[in-house]
Symmetry: C2
Subunit: 222 residues, 2 copies
């Protein structure tokens, strides 16, 4: 009985995600779904991306958290339009929550929408939001074995931004082995190595995102 | 319609958890549910706990993962009885999965059962397994703001084992502020600061766990 219920929820979500995608396309907005473990650096990546691209492209942010609005306050401080979603216990964003936040954003003045999902490597994988691009942020302290344990997430994304490379000298993390694992699961994925703390590697990620934004991107199949 | 369905699942789970608890009590086994983000150090803590207490108490392990059995293989290498649960996409262990693994363990030769939950700070909170003790492992690189974002998990546990303190010199983590936040959510919680890498602080955790094991522990209310 469990699988049919899950499938119904997902297909309702997919319908709403397709509507979000249509609305975003109409407004010319590229939406990016950013996923990671708790504390891997989603908010830090958003702040660095605003710093790198904020002059070039008008950015809006959706902040997803189980509770609190500390990250939204930080982003609002930069003068970037932001909506906080508190899921109240739910372990992922869904298309309906994102739909509600689109209604609160000045869509005519946004070109790039960065959506911070809830910190979780499992549940967000199955829920399309209407995004054009899915990215995930593994971080060095989590260890190089995470693709073994959360293969669906690593296989689902367009880009992997490996954060906290400034900690490499203090940890046993085999970047070559990690890249091999990741490309085994997802041969076409883009992999960036960055430190949101020092700024190292952010240019590569920002250049790629900027190129995606300026290209005619075919809509992600929902 | 969503809430009644969730409540039904939970109460079915709670019934099974109570049965697990009864079985474990009959066998004189103390079960510990270990939860954390991906990569915070659940397996490392289990390895350090085996090292610290393995001579004193007979240990068994249940390893929960979405996929893979790399951790179970490591633990098996130490000669400790271990069962791997692969949840196949499910974001937490439940009482039924644990029941299945109890059937595969030599319960008459186990006194302390360490159950490694799936790496996730949200979903495992709601699912009792039949454990006597719930612990969580936040780690220094995740940042000191996690209690704001995942309050239910921090409030639900008996002990918090802050791992990777060897990285404190390289990160901005305010331990005093973190402890204040945590005890605000959970006044009676035990907090330990450890490094599973260097072994620092493991004695304090192991001594506490050993004391719990040798005390008549009232069963956790499910």
């Amino acid at each position: 009985m469990k699988i049919p219920i899950l499938e119904n929820i997902l297909s309702a979500n997919d319908r709403l995600a397709a509507e979000n995608q249509k609305l975003l396309a109409k407004k010319g907005i590229l939406a990016v779904n950013i996923m990671s473990s708790p504390g891997a650096g989603k908010t830090s990546l958003i702040l660095r991306t605003i710093e790198a691209l904020g002059e070039e492209v008008r950015i809006g942010v959706v902040e997803g958290d189980v509770a609190s609005r500390v990250d939204a306050d930080t982003i609002e401080g930069l003068g970037v339009p932001v909506v906080q979603i508190n899921t109240g216990g739910t372990c992922h964003l869904d298309a309906n929550m994102v739909r509600g936040s689109l209604d609160q954003l000045p869509l005519d003045h946004i070109e790039l929408l960065l959506i911070e999902n809830v910190g979780n490597l499992i549940c967000p994988t199955d829920f399309a939001l209407g995004e054009a691009v899915k990215v995930m942020i593994p971080s060095i302290p989590e260890g190089d074995d995470k693709p073994y344990k959360y293969p669906a997430m690593f296989a689902a994304v367009d880009a992997i931004i490996v954060n906290k490379v400034d900690l490499l000298p203090y940890l046993d993390f085999d970047l070559a082995a990690f890249r091999k694992l990741v490309t085994g699961l997802n041969p076409d994925v883009q992999v960036f190595e960055v430190s949101c703390k020092t700024g190292e590697g952010i240019d590569g990620w920002a250049d790629w995102l900027s190129a995606v934004w300026t290209t005619e991107v075919p809509p992600r199949r929902i």
